[in-house]
Symmetry: C2
Subunit: 517 residues, 2 copies
Amino acid sequence: MDEAPATAKHGRSERRARGRTDRALDRQMPWRQPVNSYPLLDILSADAVEAIHTASLDILERIGISVLSDSVRELCRRHDAEIMPDGVRVRFDRAMLMAAIATAPPAFTVRARNPARSLRIGDRHLAFATVSGPPNCSDAAGGRRGGTMRDYEKFLRLAQMFNVVHTIGGYPVEPLEVPVPVRHLQAMSSMVRLTDKVPRVYCHTPQRARDALEIIRIAAGVPAEDLDKQTITYAHINTNSPLQLDKAMVEGIALMAKLNQATVITPFTLAGAMAPVTLIGAIAQQNAEALAGIAVSQFSRPGAPVVYGAFTTNVNMKSGAPAFGTPEYAKAALISGQLARRYRLPFRSSNINTANAPDAQSAYEGMMSTWSAITGGVNLLHHAAGWLEGGLCASFEKFVMDAEMLQMFASFLQPETVDAESLGLDAIEEVGPGGHFFASPHTLARYETAFYAPLLSDWRTYGNWQAAGGGDIVQRAAGIVEQAVAAYEEPALEPARAEELAAFVARRTEAGGAPVN
Amino acid sequence: MDEAPATAKHGRSERRARGRTDRALDRQMPWRQPVNSYPLLDILSADAVEAIHTASLDILERIGISVLSDSVRELCRRHDAEIMPDGVRVRFDRAMLMAAIATAPPAFTVRARNPARSLRIGDRHLAFATVSGPPNCSDAAGGRRGGTMRDYEKFLRLAQMFNVVHTIGGYPVEPLEVPVPVRHLQAMSSMVRLTDKVPRVYCHTPQRARDALEIIRIAAGVPAEDLDKQTITYAHINTNSPLQLDKAMVEGIALMAKLNQATVITPFTLAGAMAPVTLIGAIAQQNAEALAGIAVSQFSRPGAPVVYGAFTTNVNMKSGAPAFGTPEYAKAALISGQLARRYRLPFRSSNINTANAPDAQSAYEGMMSTWSAITGGVNLLHHAAGWLEGGLCASFEKFVMDAEMLQMFASFLQPETVDAESLGLDAIEEVGPGGHFFASPHTLARYETAFYAPLLSDWRTYGNWQAAGGGDIVQRAAGIVEQAVAAYEEPALEPARAEELAAFVARRTEAGGAPVN
């Protein structure tokens, strides 16, 4: 016999299921960083992890890595790294390198301007970040288009409204109409005004990074001289694979670390393009590049907060373009988690896909990447909400779909307690064979809050769904976007800080912003 | 900096990406049962698992379970179970029960009529089964409708064509127009003619089960007197929760076991309805019901093949109807896997969702259930392809989406080897900082087969996708359905068996089939 859900599916009235999108945000889970207390999934043996580790040290000791910054090369030299005859490549002795890695903290706190939104990065805590970086955005009503400041701010409002989104991972979409020299000023000041969650800094140029840090510092109310006493933001740092740390990025690491701000060192090691075609080779290269970047952070300031980032995936063999959420990506994420644990460092992974629309593909690829991140012990899940098209587009509806998936993981990670109450033997005995539990006191005492309640998923019967118009999930998500934006309230910012912020942005804008390099 | 996929995404010509749906099946993975060599995810401590185990034994020893069959109660009595004064409820001494469970094999082989399609159930092997049981089916062209024999046979052809579908889990959709007394005769003879994969038996009535077994036996070319010498099929057995084994089901267990055919004992323990509202209570009840059914199989024939099935999920709190692919479902699947391992039994779980359409929800709920099944050590993944609407509808397009997801898991489960070749240090050294690996001999030697190639997922750039018409994933899946059906070839069946089969079905049909109970 099959599970015969037909009978049970009509068990009760569905009256309360009507008008669900009207109240989606009322049903959302409270703000809380999930904690993963489950065992993590080690898909490689400890010996195999050690072999990758050793290969990375071989790479850094024998081949070296190009450090495209005079000042950072000098910093490395002062820490006994060897500058090669080309004057650019740097080799690291393995003992010296591991001694530097060992000074990085296993976990740290990032203070938000609203202390209730501060984040613990590391231990078994998880933080979910918005998508960042797409030049395009899309929604059901407006289609796909280049990003604008209006879209950018709409994403920020969404991010503020969803409790399961813990940090602003960067620009959810680029506000393309804003000239580059002043874009960071406008974008960052919007970010710290429209949200009170931990913001992220870009290190595209040292000036832009300094401006962004200043904006975040002012909004957080931290005196300039105290900035290095608390971590209030983080930067994502990509290496320029293979085996290059470019000037802006590596100087960004040094600057951020010096100020005690966090960096997330994330090589984009694309197997078959910028890294070996073998997944293990790509991971060995990722590991070498990540360790070099982490070492730079520790050279700059021992103990500076730093995260082990992983972004190894494979190319699409038909086009040479990257593919995301693939089986290879899932394996790489799990192995990267093992490496991060090998170094006792917080671990960053992502929720990503290659789909062109917020469809089933975007969901199953996203789930491949997110399950592997979660079971791999991720601490900072980047691009957790809104990513589409391999990162070329931010989707408003996908943002809501991802919020649902993230809440499902947050619920999944709440451990079950096994005790007399949860075993419920008295209820089982009382109901007895052939009875039902609807009216049992054991049920009634727990019914309202027993289970995860979805934001977006439609659990109505087909008949009720059709009777209500049969709207698709993208339409439902679009409705929740509009509901969230309508309910949005700007978080209070002390008037003195707001004034200082406005004055800073005005002054820097008048000065021409930060010139394009 | 973000991962800047824009640059890489246009790295190479996408000419070969055109006409992709024309050749989807040419790209499919070869027939092979995946083997899960990764560690499994124990989300409960061993002590907590033991507490659930003990609670189940308490239930069976103190409360008992109703066995609604005179012959099976007598079988239990002969094995020292206690019949309670109501004449229906049976209590099992824990030592006696565990002794019976211990005679069940940890793994067994089910021989298909095509020996190349035989399945290993247990150890670390996985087998993926079609959806079974929906009264309705749907496709993009025809919409949603009651199932017909035409739809039924179309699903069988699909199941035969996709290598990643290993067994026919039952009727993918009910052929509703065929009168019930003869439906099993027509449906089972279609199943064994149109596919050469392991078929499944229904035990709705003893006569139907015997007819189905006879059809499978004839197609497999097994002499009647040898049937109990090899396992050629299996039945899914649901308990009638709470704590009831109904007549047809429990006599089905005894019959199948006596003939050395496999049973999959799967309580449908719906937390908050037919089981306690607490997940742990529902699992304790599931475990008690499963152990009782497994014991009956072993009373009937010690060593008979049997699978520990799990189907605990929660109700939708708004309607009382079941919800599938929920966070609670994922936890229950993982805990059930731990229990199956506690008893050294093969483990059955499912790929299920509550969605009304083959949309993102169907994918993320399906992924919640399938990831938890895989990391929970599933051996038989039921409803692996085609399930929609909580099991009330079989979707042709979802079948193809699921085939893609199943292939992704099959690829994910191929372990990585860490050695000099896979580490590729020579290639990394040769390419050096700032180079690329496209032309590296290390790449060229492996490029064509390095990565998973999708069946359905669209990895084209947005521009190329739009230029080609921007078709959605449901349309692409529908195209693959038609392609598979067009390419379908009926697997050869020896003429003597085909004749015997036709004669049997004609004789039984003339005799009126199996009357409805």
